[in-house]
Symmetry: C2
Subunit: 324 residues, 2 copies
């Protein structure tokens, strides 16, 4: 996945550079192997979306600027920990075009490095963070685990509906992005109603973001994705486009046979993707993305200052436009 | 591994029952699979050593009794999370005589359930815990991960010495037990010098405990262990008895060839264990256990009240006596 063009993040561009620097500093370990894996994960990049949204939402009020860095870093470390464990779980070989930690160092070291990153994340915010924020975060993480376990349990199950999908995406992705925004708003001292609105913005961005990811898994090229195309289908992860096509396609029986096949061939994956394309599942899913993005924009509190509002809207534009 | 006879924990026996009850309550999840795995882990039992030592050390002073339960529960949840991830890493099939979570539900759900337990542990103490204690815990966890990764890196390496071993055992086991005692002493409001002493007690108990575990892996029967004998040797984990025998046995070259063999046969494992027995490696290691236990007893602050002191000494006796 490509990085967000840095300028999108507007007034927090410089802060993101500081986050980047602090990430390298906080993961330093006297154990070379821990260092190597962690540095690999930081270098793998990513969009730094969670810290950026946290920082932007905080700047929507009047935060104590010096208190922001540890939380911003913790949010990215938590995200990194989930990614490294996800790659173990998915047996993923590449992410963002580079070998995954598990492919390079094995599952065992990757599980432990994920745990190491959890610990470092909470270490960064153990002191000096308001306790209700810690609680928001720990609850988000246990929900994420539940969402991932449900996804495993429901793999290759063709009888999932859109409500199942939305719940799973909320738990896996949107609730964490919502929490990043909410915690930011709390740091900024926004009033209660605006905190709720900002959280809603984050939730909608998160939903749009994950649905886009699920679309791109079907439409982008392997080079663009940095991982194989049709990966979700192959892994039995039934996403929105598949749910739509399983309901509406004239070839839905054929698609169903592919979706439930735990050993599908490359040809079957290709045929499955073809059916999704033919059904208009991509267009249908993009329409949902656009609904969420519209909802995100509508949720922004009127009180936000210009540069923050502008950056938060730029994020919605980017999520809607990115093609890989 | 057998449970500690409950009476050893003396005045905190009832509190441990409350911990047990709260463990079941806190892991409850709307997702059945998460529930099933977590309940399996709680039922697998274990000695509840960390919460018991925490509670005892707190009772060495004048704790606010109502504040103790969340931390006691969190300590056990953290321990459970490390166990479930360790079993994934070791590909363990049984623990304490029962199938491991990974054997029963697969590695993927087990990794996620471990993460879920981390989150639940920190959720239990996010609110109402002094921040320096959170920091002690997060630092212990990142050290545990480092210790485990070093253990993986050094698997099948016959050139480790006792100092390497002690550092690894400290990181893996002793530092966490030390922290459980230290945090207890802080909750009890013990004075600074006594906190240091209590921590030292926990460290020494932890060292003795792990060395005993490593001895039992050689001397106990599979039924007693609830897992295969010679597991460490087979997994390439070079423990104190092996380090001693690699230095002193007349058959040390033969032993070295076994230790470094990543595909050792059952016969080779048996022969390796035989060499350890013949060398007196077990007696040598027990002597070190006894030294640590003596050090633990000597470290107990004079100021501790009778029942607490008695229970903490009973723990040292039990660690020294347990034969499986």
């Amino acid at each position: 996945m490509n990085k967000f063009p840095n300028k999108i993040f507007g007034i927090v561009q410089e802060d993101i550079k500081a986050v980047e620097k602090e990430l390298y500093s906080i993961i330093q370990s006297p154990v070379d192997l821990v260092n190597d894996i962690s540095v690999h994960l930081v270098q793998a990049g990513g969009k730094r979306l969670r810290p950026a949204l946290f920082l932007l939402c905080a700047r929507g009020g009047n935060p104590n600027q010096s208190e922001l860095l540890p939380m911003a870093v913790a949010l990215e470390l938590i995200h990194m920990a989930t990614l490294v464990h996800d790659d173990v779980i998915d047996n993923a070989a590449t992410r963002r075009g580079r070998p995954t930690a598990n492919a390079r160092w094995g599952n065992h070291s990757s599980v432990l490095t994920g745990d190491y990153l959890w610990a470092k994340a909470f270490s960064a915010i153990a002191v000096g963070t308001k306790q209700n924020m810690l609680k928001i975060l720990t609850d988000v993480i246990s929900n994420m685990c539940e969402g991932e376990i449900v996804q495993l349990r429901e793999a290759f199950n063709a009888d999932q509906d859109e409500a199942d999908y939305r719940l799973r995406v909320a738990q896996k992705t949107a609730d964490f992005i919502a929490a990043s925004c909410e915690i930011g708003a709390l740091y900024g001292g926004l009033d209660e109603r605006d905190v709720v609105q900002v959280r809603e913005y984050g939730y909608a961005i998160g939903m749009a973001f994950q649905i886009t990811d699920d679309i791109l898994d079907i439409t982008a090229s392997a080079e663009q994705l940095g991982k194989p195309v049709g990966n979700d289908l192959r892994q039995g992860i039934v996403t929105l486009p598949a749910i739509y096509a399983l309901k509406t396609s004239p070839c839905r029986d054929e698609l169903r046979n592919i979706v439930v096949n735990q050993n599908m061939s490359d040809e079957e994956v290709s045929r499955g993707l073809e059916i999704l394309h033919e059904t208009g599942a991509v267009e249908y899913s993009y329409a949902q993305v656009n609904n969420y993005l519209q909802h995100a924009r509508n949720s922004l509190p009127k009180t936000l200052n210009g540069p923050v509002r502008q950056a938060l809207i730029a994020v919605t534009d980017f999520v809607g436009l990115r093609k890989y």
